[in-house]
């Protein structure tokens, strides 16, 4: 249990708090299943797990409205689930089935959903930032009061796309919430080994964006920071940058031997696991019983089992349709 001196009481409404906890558990159970399915050869290609970082997507996306847009990265299963794409559609996409959210054409790294304004799923580091900037431009020019939430890792901040996009978004005052998921490693390269300036907020501030740094393992802190950021974007019409300090518990992908960090470091971060952190605080405050937590967990496990069954039962797309959807008309 937490040190009483540093105990951070949860003061958000209980319904919301339980929703945040539930979504984090859903992501965890979903991805644990994905790792197993990868081992079985059911899921192929690249698979990047978000385990450990769940608080960021969950806290941030619950600060958005249904009208807001999301641009994410190749580590986006959690974002997609939180946004409301069904576990069935995501799992079927991982299988490459026609019933997947991208009709099987994208796979793990390219989850898309027009209905929830989920614009992927981008497997080029930094590739989503110009896209989000342009989406925000269209929202601004059509006088919509929406936020475009753009998720990216700290590794993307070494790319020219980051600098060009922040400059453009600030110069034209475009409504983008730039959400940096700083998990300390760009694949296997630690921040200090790849960036001359390791103060990420300073980089964004250089382009005159307002910035905030927050503990990305604390879903409540993430949620409050994202709310602050989105409120500022809506009020000013301009961009905002938030650095979420987080940590990936699993390897970068399924091919990563993790030679670049120590087991001790990983174990140290795991003590701060976002699900453990929130459930512990809620229990300490008497806001969550163990039976309730087990019910949440059980529902998440059943949801995942159902998704796997759905994906297994879904048909393959006929190969005759191979070249469909390259152009609007064949």
């Amino acid at each position: 249990m937490s040190d009483p001196a540093s105990f951070k009481a949860v003061t958000l409404p209980r319904d919301l708090t339980i929703k945040l906890l539930t979504d984090m558990v859903r992501i965890r159970r979903f991805e644990e299943a994905c790792a197993e399915l990868y081992g079985e050869g059911k899921i192929r290609g690249f698979l990047h797990l978000y385990i450990g970082e769940e608080a960021v997507a969950v806290g941030a996306i619950h600060a958005l409205t249904a009208q807001d847009a999301i641009v994410a990265t190749y580590r986006e299963h959690g974002h997609a689930l939180t946004r409301g794409i069904t576990a069935n559609a995501i799992m079927a996409e991982m299988y490459g089935k026609h019933s997947g959210c991208s009709r099987g054409r994208g796979g793990s790294m390219h989850l898309f959903d027009a209905a929830t304004r989920f614009y992927g799923g981008n497997a080029i580091v930094g590739g989503g930032l110009p896209l989000a900037t342009g989406l925000a431009l269209s929202e601004k020019l059509t006088q919509k009061q929406t936020v475009t939430a753009c998720f990216f890792g700290e590794g993307a901040m070494a790319e020219g796309a980051f600098h060009e996009s922040l400059n453009l978004a600030a110069l034209w005052q475009l409504p983008v919430a730039f959400f940096c998921e700083n998990n300390l490693y760009a694949m296997g390269t630690a921040l200090a080994r790849s960036e001359s300036q390791t103060d990420l907020c300073a980089k964004a501030a250089a382009y005159k964006l307002p910035t905030q740094r927050v503990d990305g393992m604390d879903v409540i802190a993430v949620h409050e920071a994202a709310q602050t950021a989105c409120a500022a974007v809506r009020k000013t019409g301009g961009p905002f940058f938030v650095e979420f300090q987080t940590y990936r518990f699993r390897a970068h992908s399924m091919f990563d031997a993790e030679l670049y960090r120590t087991k001790a470091e990983v174990e140290e971060w795991k003590k701060r696991g976002p699900i453990h952190d929130l459930s512990g605080r809620l229990k300490a405050q008497g806001l969550l019983g163990e039976d309730e937590f087990l019910a949440i967990d059980g529902a998440a496990r059943r949801e995942v089992e159902a998704a796997i069954a759905f994906a297994e039962a879904s048909p393959w797309e006929p190969v005759e349709t191979l070249t469909h959807d390259v152009y609007a008309t064949p």
């Binding site: 991208s102 898309f112 981008n122 930032l129 896209l131 342009g134 996009s165 453009l168 469909h324 152009y327």
Partner: protein, 326 residues
Amino acid sequence: MSHKTTYREALREAHRDALRADPRVFLMGEDVGKYGGSYAVSKGLLDEFGAQRIRDTPLSELAFVGAGIGAALGGLRPIVEVMTVNFSLLALDQIVNTAATLRHMSGGQFSIPLVIRMTTGAGRQLAAQHSHSFEGWYAHVPGLKVLAPATIGDARGMLAPALADPDPVVLFEHALLYNMEGELEGDWANTDIRSARVRRAGTQVSLITYGGSLWKTLDAASELAAHGVDAEVIDLRVLRPLDTETILESVRKTHRAVVIDEGWKTGSLAAEICARLAEDAFYDLDAPLARVCSEEVPIPYPKHLEDAALPQTAKIVAAARSATGK
């Protein structure tokens, strides 16, 4: 009804029409506004349409091309001017990895109705970094449509169907064409972005080309006539998807083909066309296929060397005479 104009003015009028016709259309790029466009295509448009719709961008090809993709995704109809094809390399990731892929990767959920315009080609002693012809590179990519207006009619008429197209269209304007004067024929409003066009009918050899090389090729056809060679000239116009039918129809008639392409010969669009002819018209051919392309060298600065590096009328004439044995 026809009237005298220039390629540049024809492009500008096309922009003016598009901006008037649809409030979703806007133009952005480096120096398109206050400067009037580095090739003056957009001169005067800022005053007429305002800074919201004629947007000067920073020197950030990756970001503003990507932003054009995002704005198209968001429902607008952007025209993004990349000053030249040379600088488009800085935006290549967004064009190839995002614009070209998003429809397919999303299982058909999303469209990118975007037009990217850029100047291409050599011939002005601008040396190696400002003389590229990468139309063939873009034409390699499924998901993109690639246009090369070579005539005043196409300069006037191609933009509207390109904007109406639900997929990303890359439009190449050869730098040597902007000052070209000529008659704008009355039928430009029916311009399609699907077909190649026979610009000169002939019976003995098909000269297949596009963009800035069209005029050198037409000059070559006139010279060839003096040598008793009746050449047909095909203007590809649309580099992706290629109108293979028009090319095949011509070659099945003439039985000989020379492809003229300002790109380097190795891996060129000319190579693709020759391969298609070899695949689909092999038994119709009476002579080996021939290509007139740029020499395999970064385009040099001195005029005599630049001229030697590029396809020229004399080389086209020689290739066609060789193919016809005349």
